[in-house]
Symmetry: C2
Subunit: 148 residues, 2 copies
DNA sequence: TTATGTTGTAATGTCAACCATTACAATTTA
DNA sequence: TAAATTGTAATGGTTGACATTACAACATAA
């Protein structure tokens, strides 16, 4: 299975926050029209990001803003915030291998550390990328547009 | 979302093939009782592994066997065989970011290489682990059982 | 304080994927 | 030919993703 589009939507939201912070009121409606999804999707994702301490959201007046510096928010933070898997486990292990079978009895011993190793590789890479990288590149591409 | 249990089931099947190859007839029924799922699930996974050139399956007489040496079959091979995502893409990108919005227009430019980098990290790690590792550890744990 | 705009969230619906199960045709072997 | 087994289609239950409507809770400006 794939990682839900909530992840890319969340990064898109952050890119909008940075790009438009002083020009536009960053309401769920505004963000929804940039991402092109229903405003409620945006609100739910903002809720998850807020619960993870990554954004601040104002009720009534509207507007979302960063709760930390862009350098301190990694893709891993965002992934954990929006991807709701129990214990963050990447692999879904089949539930009840037979305890009567020598292989069934030991398959967890054999596999658990290997699966963990793969998950760690994924998470390490996610941790290397921050919103600072995203904001820098977003500015670069938008500036490039206005030149030509 | 999580990687489907088809992956761990597939590795479990391989461990059974190696452990029981000369002692038992490796039918879908036998494998199903070790994994503890319906035999049809086993047959479907064996079909996918066969299509990927990883196993041979005999009809009628029953029995599955490796199509390559254990050293040559990596977790990445199994992952690709069993996980049916288009182009093997790990991330599901939201479909239609607004082309009216500067951020929406450029979000793919900004993100695509970063997502690819994460996917590569995952796949590289999957490629490091082979069935030879699994078979070695399976033997180790089963031998350890019979000692005590 | 009231009107307005906005977020938070519940409820509902559609769709796709996963996994289970039954059934039976196709195939192999004894 | 009979028995065993795989291949695969059909069906159903369950869950998660995403969309949408509706409205209560809350903040701000007049």
């Amino acid at each position: 299975m794939q990682i839900s589009s909530r992840f890319t939507i969340a990064v898109h939201i952050f890119a909008c926050i940075d790009t438009f912070q002083n020009q536009e009121k960053l309401t769920s409606n505004f963000l929804a029209s940039s991402v092109n999804v229903n405003p409620v999707i945006i609100r739910n994702i903002l809720s998850q990001l807020k619960a993870a301490g990554l954004v601040k959201v104002q009720r009534g007046s509207g507007g979302a803003s960063l709760a930390k510096s862009p350098k301190e928010i990694t893709f891993l933070d965002i992934y954990h915030a929006v991807e709701c898997i129990e214990n963050g486990e990447l692999f879904h292990f089949h539930e009840n291998p037979s305890q009567q079978c020598p292989v069934g009895r030991n398959i967890h011993h054999v596999l658990d550390d290997k699966l963990q190793q793969v998950q760690n590789a994924l998470e390490n890479e996610l941790q290397k990328i921050t919103l600072a990288d995203v904001f820098k590149d977003t500015k670069y591409y938008i500036d490039k547009e206005s030149q030509s």
